[in-house]
């Protein structure tokens, strides 16, 4: 009997010992030659290199032929960025000046652009083509002796993408509108940024949905467009990079901003930028978000000033609002959600907007002392009563406070009184109360553009103009939106940007929209000061798209940013790159294959691995969860933590400079939490991603 037991137990012990030694050796999670051979390599990509190489390729191809105005070289969408654009290249025997005209449906939709000076080599940017049709582009060649010749070209374009939002123009009175195109800026990466003409026709769009999220795009004094780039620090719109670009898609400068930029950027008088931002250690090393204003040196790209709004306002004040995702123990509280910045260079002060606090605050840039606060007095009592002295006293008729506002701008002086300042803003009207008990139901709510006149000496505020209340809940936008007063006509361009609707009924749940669970629509209205609507377009979802409009900006289609020659210069990179170092984590010695990844981006750039996407756990999305990425070969293992977003989203930029050269399999590890407590029990997963990376 003892012998039989011996013969049974000993083999079991041996098997268990072998199993244990195999398990603890880590061989079960070691990449094999076969797994590496079958894995997809992570490719290198750098937009500045890519675009420069495109330019050289175009020039090389062009050099093969002999191109004239009658028979020019045409390349459509030269940077693979705006499919409704083109470049026309040719030579003239004598120096000549070229004027290009893209023929539109009427005079208001026809765009003309003249090149500078007289040259024999010509590179003509063509913008504003219609989608899905043959476009006529006229070239007028004027020689120095005054002789003029005209040539016609016809460019066939492709239809708009299947998921391009639906546009319904209700009103279009081009003769009363501000000239130019409406730049319709997206907020979510399920939508496009595009340009509309006065008839409401699409005349350009950016095929890259990953840049410019939920942040103002502004035309700089040099004619370039300033926008956030496409490297994400924190979902869904805190971006590491800024781009100076043109409407062809050419990026002239990429600024690396460790703090990340969101919502707003403006150009100051000296060319520097002021931006809504964060503490640079956010999100993994800092507990709040979107509560810092930064100043960026234009020459170096460095962040030279950081205005910490927690030193200016009390971050514990909690108004009722719809930005709150309802997460217990959230790693990054969003108490301010700073969405607009302005600078009064006359007295060196900064104005910022916090929609969560429903407050617009002006403070001195040197002392950080608050000058005034434009905010309802509700909720500024008790332990927040120290702020009451900054509140303005309303005067005049029909006065209403703003709630959840966006887009604060200082208007040029119109009353000749140096004590007053006119502030234009978009009043979303969210809740219209500090408390839930007194909040307005979205079906009875409204949004509007409003001008407040603030007398800084008397500490009063007067409402001197508004438009939007008369549209009622039909234009109620819980979030997003902007207003701008335009220079030539004095018209106002108003974007009711984030209209949440279910079966046509207004809703307030922003979070569901931002994480992709609720579609959103928008409406853009151009109105004269006297109240006549001259343009009105509704934007609704189509297929998988969203149809929010973060902001609308009237701009010239052609600017000085088109005046450059291919191959003359590669885009510059400025500023400081921030990327994550390896971390430590106790990984199991076996796989728990539960995580499925959906990458929106995965590439190498200058010693960094850039990742963005979302993950499922056991095939389901969870509101709370996070992932780590593991680079592993037979000799080394490096673990990097990605920045989590809600609903399985993640973003990461990993520093590979200290990683030993070699080929690595990439694994993912991480977990999800049931419920809405970030400290809740974690369900764990660990498995290969199917990717590999060659580190040099």
């Amino acid at each position: 009997m003892k012998q039989r037991i011996f013969y049974i137990i000993v083999p079991i012990i041996i098997i268990l010992a072998i199993a244990a030694s195999v398990l603890f050796s880590g061989v079960l999670v070691m990449p094999t030659k076969a797994t590496l051979a079958n894995a997809t390599p992570v490719e290198s990509y750098d937009i500045l290199e890519y675009q420069y190489q495109r330019e050289l390729n175009i020039l090389s191809d062009y050099a093969n032929g002999s191109y004239t105005p009658q028979n020019p070289y045409i390349i459509q969408d030269p940077y693979k960025a705006n499919p409704l654009s083109a470049l026309i290249l040719f030579e003239t025997a004598e120096p000549a000046q070229v004027t290009a005209t893209v023929i539109g449906k009427n005079q208001y939709a026809t765009f003309t652009y003249s090149m500078d000076g007289f040259t024999t080599h010509h590179e003509v940017a063509v913008l504003g083509l219609y989608p899905g049709q043959k476009n006529q582009v006229d070239l007028a060649i004027i020689y120095q002796n005054g002789q003029e010749k005209k040539y016609e070209q016809f460019l066939q374009t492709e239809p708009l993408p299947y998921d391009f939002p639906n546009l319904a123009v209700q009103v279009s009175k081009p003769e009363k509108m501000e000239p130019g195109v409406d730049l319709m800026i997206s907020c979510l990466d399920t939508n496009y940024t595009y340009m509309l003409d006065a008839n409401g026709d699409v005349r350009g769009y950016f095929s890259n949905k990953n840049f410019g999220h939920c942040t103002a795009m502004r035309v700089l004094k040099n004619g370039r467009l300033l926008t956030t780039g496409d490297v994400e620090k924190l979902m869904p719109y805190n971006m590491y990079t800024l781009w100076e670009m043109n409407l062809l898609g050419k990026v002239f400068v990429e600024y690396e901003i460790p703090n990340a930029v969101h919502h707003d950027i403006i150009e100051l008088d000296n060319g520097d930028f002021l931006a809504a931002s964060n503490n640079a250690n956010m999100p993994l090393g800092y507990d709040t978000r979107e509560d810092v204003v930064i100043r960026i040196d234009r020459q170096s790209g460095a962040v030279t000033q950081q205005y910490d709004l927690r030193q200016i306002l009390d971050d514990n004040r909690k108004p009722y609002n719809h930005y709150d995702p309802g997460v217990l123990n959230a790693p990054n509280r969003d108490w301010a959600h700073t969405n607009s910045v302005a600078m009064d260079e006359g007295d060196n002060s900064i104005i910022f907007s916090s929609p969560i606090q429903s407050a617009v605050v002006k403070f001195n840039a040197d002392t950080h002392e608050i000058d005034w606060m434009l905010s309802s007095p509700e909720g500024w009592d008790g332990k927040f009563s120290q702020y009451q002295k900054y509140l303005l006293t309303p005067i005049g008729e029909n006065f209403e406070w703003q709630w959840g506002q966006h887009s604060v701008k200082i208007l040029p002086d119109t009353d000749g009184d140096s004590n007053t300042i006119d502030i234009l803003l978009f009043d979303n009207g969210q809740a219209r109360s500090y408390t839930q008990a007194n909040s307005i139901n979205p079906v009875n709510n409204y949004s509007r553009a409003v001008i407040y006149r603030i007398n800084e000496l008397n500490r009063t505020v007067e409402q001197i103009w508004q438009f939007g209340k008369e549209l009622g809940s039909g234009a109620y936008a819980t979030f997003l939106g902007n207003v701008e007063k335009m220079q030539l006509t004095g018209n106002f361009n108003i974007d009711f940007g984030g209209m949440l609707r279910q079966d046509g009924v207004p809703l307030d749940d922003i979070v569901q929209s931002v994480i992709g669970r609720q579609q959103v629509q928008s409406r853009v209205v151009e109105v004269q000061q006297k109240g006549e609507v001259v343009f009105d377009v509704s934007v609704t979802p189509n297929n998988s798209s969203d149809a929010e409009t973060y902001q609308v900006r009237k701009m010239d289609l052609y600017t000085a940013a088109m005046r450059y020659l291919l191959g003359d210069s590669k885009g510059q990179r400025k500023g400081d790159v921030q990327s994550s170092e390896p971390t430590s984590y106790n990984l199991p010695n076996f796989f728990i294959p539960r995580i499925t990844l959906n990458f929106k981006q995965i590439y190498q750039q200058n010693g960094n691995l850039i990742l963005q996407g979302s993950f499922l756990y056991n095939g389901k999305s969870y509101m709370l969860g996070k992932v780590l990425f593991v680079l592993k070969n037979k000799d080394y293992q490096y673990i990097f933590a990605a920045t989590p977003g809600l609903n399985g989203n993640f973003a990461a930029r990993f520093d590979l400079n200290d990683v030993q050269p070699g080929e690595y399999a990439i694994y993912v590890a991480g977990g999800v939490v049931n419920g809405m407590d970030a400290l809740g029990k974690v369900n764990f997963g660990y498995n290969p991603t199917g990717y590999k990376i060659q580190v040099k």
Partner: protein, 173 residues
């Protein structure tokens, strides 16, 4: 193993092959020596219609399946082709002209690429190859033709007729 069993196993294998092979479509390329533009078909599919189910999480947290469907005109099918179009002769000025790329059936009929096949991406045919004129480099992706169902089972060839780039690629099922 007995001889009858071996025969049975062999028959079983042949049966499996007969079932599987029609689903595995390959192609045959007629190579041309010095082409400006080289076209390679990497895969093609014939589809009666396209459908996709998108799982959409609703406002209240519940999920619903949203069905997307796309059908050709009555009596037609989609011919969806994945191509690599590469400019071999970098000294040439010839661009790639989509109008010259047609699908021919066995009866001498020609079919042009659909003017709008952007819908392909909704059905996971990604990336779609641009329909803009190509000037240089390597370009790849899916494109879509619509052909009568009556010719779909017959001989189909992808034909490019531009000068110095004549090619005929048999789409072999």
């Amino acid at each position: 193993m007995r001889k009858t069993n071996l025969i049975l196993v062999a028959c079983l294998h042949l049966f499996c092959l007969a079932v599987i092979l029609p689903g595995c479509q390959t192609h045959k390329t007629t190579p041309a020596p010095t082409l400006v533009w080289q076209i390679e078909v990497t895969k093609f599919e014939i589809m009666n219609n396209l459908s996709a189910i998108e799982s959409v999480t609703q406002y209240n947290g519940s999920k619903i399946d949203v069905a997307h469907a796309q059908s050709p005109d009555a009596g037609n099918v989609y011919l969806i082709i994945n191509v690599i179009i590469h400019k071999e002769d970098n000294q040439s000025t010839a661009s790639f002209d989509w109008q010259q790329l047609v699908v021919n059936d066995g009866s001498g009929n020609s079919y042009h690429r659909l003017a709008n096949d952007t819908f392909l991406e909704q059905y996971q045919y990604t990336p779609r190859i641009t329909g803009l004129e190509l000037r240089f480099g390597e370009n790849s992706g899916w494109m879509c033709y619509e052909i009568p169902v009556s010719v779909a089972t017959g001989k189909l060839t992808l034909v490019y007729t531009a000068e110095e780039s004549q090619q005929e690629i048999t789409l072999q099922k």
